[in-house]
């Protein structure tokens, strides 16, 4: 079994690369795996890596695999080339984000400088509303406010799946977002993560023995949706604020602004801004912390590798009760409602002070969830199972593409009254070519051929 896996690879600074790294041994136990990247450099410890040029993909090698798997997320830098191949060559698309408006805006407006293409895509999937939204985005290209406003309403996810045989999502709630393509097989797989063998999380008993001030940590890239600023505001308003210290481990979208807010809120003695950190440094920070902040709002439907790293250290975390985060098992994280953000942050911090042991237990539950749900072996099993189904999906995809093309052409010239009859015949022909397993029955006396279950054929073709 041969699998082509398109993904950013380490040292690319993206969680998708880390996911891939975690999965490689598990998939290699079960199949021949070739990693494909359009990066110029990759970690030389990785084996069987091939470089591809998105403008001239290696079709022969793509066709020779049993399945091609494309990892697509919101970062144009890492995923534009992969998307370019995926739209021409059918395969399974792993969606690392459910809302891809930022990704496609980046491709059309920055990379391709094709505003008409962007407008066309928005109109194609969302009609006149989409076109108007596109016009607003185009009218305010610098502020990005319109983009933020429309990203969840017009996610443009279908554009990532236009040639997909099946979709994989890491967010259980995201399946609903794929209802626009009901015919597309869609699978939820928990984000894979391979805990470091060296990791021995500190048990809740020893963590609960700690004394104030407690150590808070927030890690990763600090975009506005990480809610750092609202957290600082809520925390600063608490009389118990001195019971905590916060370490900000990762680059901040606007460091000056955050530093000035920290001063304004009187938190300068309680917050350390640490800047960019390697994964290992980040893990070390998490290990020493008592509570992690992993808030997100809005969310693009992504799963959070950061959360899995938090669980790896058996660390409790505050998360926003939305998207992927909202689907996490109760008892493994502490939730903050997006519409009661300040109130809930304060409530949870007080709860922590009152009963640190229960939060430590939360971290332990998280660690168990990580081991149970997110094991790379489990993910790899599912990928291999998909490979077995890929041929059937391919036939189905060919049928649907043909039906769509024929339908679009017929619309231009076919009188509505006659279209039903012809459409039925066409559906029948498409179904036959694409894989209807019929049985031909021949009359032994006359030798005449006859379909065994013709009415059923028409019924199935009609449904198709």
């Amino acid at each position: 079994m041969k699998i082509n896996w398109f993904s950013p690879l380490p040292p690319a600074k993206t969680g998708v690369a880390l996911c891939t790294e975690a999965l490689i041994p598990a998939i290699r136990k079960r199949a021949r795996l070739t990693l494909w990247t359009d990066q110029q450099e990759w970690d030389d410890r990785l084996e069987q890596v091939r470089h591809f040029d998105p403008h001239s993909p290696p079709w022969r090698e793509l066709n020779a695999a049993d399945i091609n798997i494309y990892n697509i997320g919101n970062n144009t830098e890492f995923h534009a080339g992969i998307w370019a191949v995926s739209r021409r060559h059918a395969g399974v698309v792993i969606l690392h984000d459910i809302c891809l408006q930022h990704f496609f805006a980046g491709i059309y407006l920055v990379k391709m400088e094709d505003p008409q293409g962007y407008r066309h895509a928005m109109r194609l999937y969302y009609g006149e509303d989409g076109r108007q939204a596109a016009d607003e985005v185009l009218a305010h290209p610098r502020t990005g406010e319109a983009l933020e406003q429309f990203s969840t309403r017009f996610p443009l996810t279908p554009l990532a799946l236009e040639n997909a045989l099946a979709a994989v999502i890491h967010n259980r709630a995201g399946k609903q977002a794929l209802t626009f393509q009901p015919q597309l097989p869609a699978f939820y797989l928990p984000l894979p993560y391979s805990p470091s063998a060296a990791t021995r999380p500190i048990g809740p008993e020893s963590k609960s023995g700690r004394k104030p001030p407690y150590r808070l940590v927030i890690s990763g890239y600090m975009a506005p949706n990480r809610r750092l600023e609202p957290f600082l505001e809520a925390w600063a308003g608490m009389p118990e604020k001195t019971a905590f210290r916060l370490r900000v481990c990762g680059p901040i979208w606007d460091t000056n602004h955050i530093e000035s807010r920290i001063r304004e809120l009187g938190l300068e003695h309680f917050v350390d801004i640490c800047g960019y950190m390697s994964v290992e440094q980040m893990k070390s920070e998490l290990k020493q912390a008592d509570l992690a902040l992993n808030l997100r709002y809005p969310t693009m439907g992504e799963g959070s590798l950061t959360q899995l790293m938090i669980w790896e250290q058996a660390l409790p975390a505050l998360v926003t009760d939305v998207g992927w985060y909202g689907t996490l098992p109760r008892g493994t994280v502490a939730f903050v409602r997006p519409d009661h953000e300040c109130e809930d942050i304060c409530r949870q911090l007080r709860a922590f002070l009152e009963n640190p042991h229960s939060f430590a237990e939360m971290g332990r539950q998280g660690y168990q969830t990580l081991q149970r749900e997110h094991a790379p072996d489990r993910y790899a099993e599912a990928i291999v199972a998909m490979t077995a189904a890929a041929r059937e999906w391919g036939l189905r995809s060919a049928r649907l593409t043909m039906a769509k093309r024929v339908g679009e052409d017929m619309r231009r010239w076919m009188a509505p009254a006659a279209s039903d009859t012809l459409a039925t015949k066409l559906a029948h022909a498409i179904w036959e070519i694409g894989g209807y397993n019929q049985t031909v029955v021949r009359n032994s006396e006359t030798g005449m051929a006859k379909w065994k279950s013709r009415p059923e054929v028409f019924q199935r073709a009609g449904q198709q």
Binding site: W59, L62, A90, L395, I433, G434, G435, M448, K450
Partner: protein, 349 residues
């Protein structure tokens, strides 16, 4: 009987398949049947077009014409053999080889070089497997095509041989100093393999090639090989020759070289046998191997330049043996009773 022959046609192309279709039409009419030829236009690129043509064939109705029933549909080529008919007989010249035996071949594969090629390939497989069995009988051009159909689709069939065009016109003359390779020039016919072999022969073997190149680069590749191997004076590329000239070239040759890769059938073998000439072919040449008995009517060598060179040297130097193998080839042809009458009787049974 009212019979329609269904095939596909690429405009402006007239090759072996077209000759066969015309021959069958003539044979049916000669035997008193009302017969006509229906050729569906065909284009195999981009690959999605293949599916369009398959569907177009499925939508055709050839069960009657002007109220008169068509009693038998004889379908020859992919995707024309997908046309539905209650009394359909297939005489498959070949399937879409790019989806089967040539899928991964370095020169032969077209689908594998195309985006979504695997999806088109699987659709062709599925349609062939599901729809070929609609026919009341399945014949193929050769045992080689039958083997491929079995390997690719698990479908049984019987080979049915037909004579080359103008079979009665082939004759034999006193041989001159050349071997003859009549064929279109393309990578699957492997003219360059012959040139490589010529570079390794111990004797100054000469080969005359007749037939046009499918595209200019393919002729250029041969010309380059001639220069690189220093074969000037030992090979001749005549391009397209008339039928009369072809008959003479066969008749006056020492023997015929025909080294394609897995040929469906290969009229050239039969034409050589009709001309009483031995045939040098390769063990992976497909169709010719159904007729060439090694060291009885010719030679089947490995498709390596050294092995082929040895075979060419043998025919060149041992002319008595070459003559004997040629005569044996003609005798074998007679024994096979290859005739249009036989073809028609099977297709209309």
């Amino acid at each position: 009987m009212r019979v329609v022959i269904a095939t596909v046609k690429i405009p402006f192309i007239y090759g072996g398949a077209e000759v066969l279709a015309d021959g069958l039409l003539q044979a049916l009419r000669t035997e008193g049947h009302t017969a006509d030829l229906v050729a569906i236009p065909y284009r195999h690129y981009p690959p999605e077009r293949i599916l369009d043509h398959m569907m177009a064939c499925r939508l055709l109705d050839l069960t009657e014409a002007f109220g008169n029933s068509i009693d038998r549909l004889i379908a020859l080529k992919f995707p024309a053999y997908l046309i539905p008919h209650p009394n359909k007989v297939l005489w498959i010249l070949h399937q879409h080889r790019g989806a089967y035996d040539l899928w991964a071949h370095p020169q032969g594969g077209d689908l594998i070089q195309s985006p979504n090629g695997h999806v088109i390939r699987d659709s062709i497989h599925q349609a062939d497997r599901n729809l070929i069995p609609e026919a009341r009988a399945i014949f193929t051009l050769s045992a080689n095509v039958s083997r491929r159909l079995k390997d690719g689709c698990g479908i049984d069939s019987s080979p049915l041989y037909n004579p080359p065009a103008n079979a009665a016109s082939f004759y034999c003359s006193e041989p001159s100093d050349y071997l003859f390779y009549p064929s279109r020039i393309n990578p699957l016919k492997r003219q360059t393999l012959v040139l490589e072999a010529l570079a390794r022969t111990r004797h100054p073997v000469r080969v005359v090639f007749a037939g046009a190149a499918d595209s200019p680069p393919q002729q250029q590749e041969c010309d380059k090989a001639v220069r690189e191997f220093g074969l000037k004076g030992r090979v001749q590329f005549l391009g397209h020759v008339t039928e009369k000239e072809k008959l003479r070239l066969y008749a006056e040759s020492l023997g015929v070289v025909f080294t394609p890769l897995d040929e469906d059938y290969g009229y050239i073998t039969l034409e050589a046998m009709l001309s009483r000439k031995p045939v040098v072919t390769c063990t992976d040449s497909g169709g010719p191997l159904e007729f060439v008995a090694h060291r009885e009517t010719g030679l089947a060598t490995e498709s390596q330049p050294d092995a082929l060179a040895e075979g060419l040297d043998e025919i060149w130097t041992d002319r008595n043996r070459a003559r004997a193998w040629g005569l044996a080839g003609r005798k074998r042809y007679e024994e096979l009773q290859i005739s249009w009458e036989n073809v028609v009787s099977h297709l209309l049974a």
